[in-house]
């Protein structure tokens, strides 16, 4: 177990390192001077400051030097300085935004599980019935609706007919948990609906498989009702691949959360990244990307490591 965990940790480190190279080179596809020109175009920066910036950012340094400097900034924890907001570090703004996105992502995943697992189980138990077809169609619909559009429609018709008002000011979870959930539940459900589709499909197929296993037959032979067999014996075993799926969806959950939080005016990573992009705050964009990747890699790692705990049969080799 320990060597397995160490190996996974190492592999995650390697991937994160590659992501850093990927992000860095993506941000350097244009030559450095064009980068500064773009900064000038925004009109926020005087020529003097620009010249100063050129030195500060080290654009005249060779690329490997720039990269090593960035990695140094990452390890020192500041993640570099914002190009737009003088005296503010990249980290400062991420620290404020990341919890919002992570909270939305977790709530979205939880609602996806709450929707997907029961529906998938019902669908499997009543295989090929009208109910099964209905549930499967709804889940396919969930795969086909752009989440941001669903959010937009909810906002439009919510305001028109239900007196819903998109919140103007963000309420943080630590200050006012109830107010915070009040803002979060609608985007979480929308995110969850989109994600529940694949969870439902996976649950359906694994439950179908597990229902024909020997232990299910044994449980039935003991005289347990079908209800108890499914809930106590089948679903528990069928959920392992579903957990894996949830872990693998982390990147998509993050993406979904980004766009929904922009739509619902929540000050998370999506808004921060989009703002940084329109302001051409390259160090900020770079920082946001690497943090997003770290969250995804971390989630996948946690899921991998939790296998043994979820399913004691798993042997790490």
């Amino acid at each position: 177990m320990r060597t397995y965990a160490l190996r996974r940790l190492l592999a995650a480190g390697v991937v994160l390192f590659l992501v850093s190279i990927l992000v860095f080179s993506m941000m350097r596809m244009l030559p450095g001077d064009a980068l500064v020109t773009k900064l000038g175009e925004t009109g926020r920066i005087s020529p003097d400051r620009m010249e100063q910036l050129r030195d500060e950012i080290g654009l005249n340094d060779p690329l490997p030097v720039q990269y090593v400097k960035w990695i140094g900034d990452l390890f020192s924890g500041t993640m570099g300085d914002s190009l737009i907001y003088e005296g503010r570090t990249v980290r400062e703004r991420i620290v404020n935004s990341l919890p919002v996105t992570v909270e939305l992502g977790i709530l979205g995943m939880l609602s996806a599980l709450a929707i997907g697992i029961p529906l998938g189980t019902i669908s499997a138990v009543s295989q090929d019935s009208l109910l099964d077809y209905f549930i499967r169609s709804v889940s396919l619909l969930g795969l086909s609706i752009p989440q941001f559009w669903l959010g937009l429609i909810v906002i439009i018709y919510g305001t028109l007919y239900l007196g819903y008002k998109p919140p103007r000011e963000f309420i943080s979870l630590t200050k006012d948990p109830i107010g915070n959930i009040g803002m979060m539940w609608i985007p979480s459900l929308i995110l969850g609906f989109g994600l529940s589709a694949s969870i439902m499909r996976m649950t359906r197929s694994t439950v179908l498989e597990a229902m024909h296993e020997d232990y299910a037959r044994t449980a039935r032979a003991k005289g347990l009702t079908e209800h108890v067999v499914v809930i106590r014996h089948v679903v528990r075993n069928a959920l392992i691949p579903v957990i894996t799926l949830v872990g693998n969806q982390a990147a998509f959950v993050f993406s979904g959360a980004l766009i929904l939080e922009i739509l619902f005016g929540l000050p998370g990573m999506g808004r921060l990244t989009l703002e940084a992009i329109t302001q051409r705050d390259y160090t900020q964009v770079q920082g946001c990307a690497i943090v997003a990747a770290a969250v995804v890699i971390g989630t996948n790692l946690l899921v991998d490591l939790s296998y043994g705990w979820i399913d004691p049969r798993v042997r790490y080799s």
Binding site: V19, M26, L143, I145, F148, W149, A251, I277
Partner: protein, 301 residues
């Protein structure tokens, strides 16, 4: 999003006789009527989009202030937008970009993925290791962040949007193909080809690649749908093809949100277009998977 298991390798019997296209379509329709119907809907949508200049009642990009936020009527089937442009017309023209990006990015991304997957699966060793870690790295970046970052560096043209999205499609395809190759390369006929002295490229492209097509086709059919949604998300954020060119995503971007109370059709129309298209693609893809994946055959009977 599309989830395809790595092991969904399907091996068609080598040398299977290819029946005539019409017969394939007929037997598919009989076995999967819903999937066939969605294929028909897709065909109709594609034709409408393709013949947009013929069908469209108005100019897509010319503002006409008299029709500003016009309600849906016989003149403006789906109403007018904030500049008085006809929403139906823009929907048709926008579909060209959205569907084009969907197909283009899928073709490019899956093509690259097949290539990487073949190399990775057949070569094994450190080549496999390196390629896989690179794919992992691309996959670790949330697609939207990845595309946002790329968009800062590429000008917002159709070509660049397609290239950007295709990069995010590649790893999924590479994994599926790699998984298939790993099992196919142990097959007796591959061994036979090797013992006859066939060169590695010949083995890979002649004997292995054709047998990975089934999972690739399934993956591609589902990917088109998610690419259309991703492109729409980019457009919605104002990061897709340059305005005033319409795409289904950019149509949701500015006016649709600003005037959502006076003119809800501006937001409803493009979304419904995306929904119908992607829903049909997914239904079709599901049917295709049932037919092509022998492991699922006979299940549920």
């Amino acid at each position: 999003m599309a989830v395809v298991s790595e092991e969904s390798a399907i091996i068609l019997p080598p040398g299977a006789r290819t029946p005539r296209p019409l017969r394939i379509i007929w037997s598919f329709t009989r076995r999967k009527p819903v999937a066939a119907a969605s294929a028909l809907i897709l065909l109709i949508i594609s034709l409408m989009v393709l013949f947009a200049p013929v069908i469209a009642p108005h100019e897509p990009n010319r503002p006409s202030l008299g029709d500003r936020l016009a309600k849906p009527s016989s003149d403006h089937l789906l109403g007018g937008d904030e500049l008085g442009r006809d929403v139906f017309t823009r929907l048709l023209y926008g579909g060209r970009i959205s569907l084009g990006a969907g197909l283009g990015a899928t073709a490019l991304g899956v093509g690259l993925g097949v290539l990487f997957g073949l190399v990775s699966g057949y070569a094994g060793g450190w080549v496999d290791m390196t390629l896989q870690r690179i794919m992992d790295a691309i996959m670790a970046l949330p697609p939207l962040i990845f595309l946002m970052v790329i968009s800062t560096q590429l000008s917002p043209s159709f070509r660049n949007v397609v290239i950007a999205i295709s990069i995010f499609v590649t790893p999924g395809a590479a994994r599926v193909v790699r998984g298939a190759v790993l099992s196919i390369k142990e097959m007796p006929y591959v061994e036979a080809a090797r013992s006859l002295g066939a060169s590695p490229p010949r083995i890979v492209f002649r004997h292995i690649m054709p047998n990975t097509f089934a999972p690739v086709i399934i993956l591609a059919s589902i990917t088109v749908g998610s690419v259309i949604i991703i492109e729409a998300a980019l457009g919605f954020l104002g990061l897709s093809v340059r305005l005033p060119q319409a795409t289904w995503g950019t149509m949701l971007n500015s006016g649709a949100q600003q005037y959502m109370e006076q003119a809800p059709w501006m937001a409803v129309a493009p979304g419904v277009a995306i929904l119908i298209t992607v829903f049909s693609i997914n239904l079709f893809g599901d049917g295709l998977r049932d037919v092509l994946d022998p492991r699922l055959r006979g299940k549920g009977k």
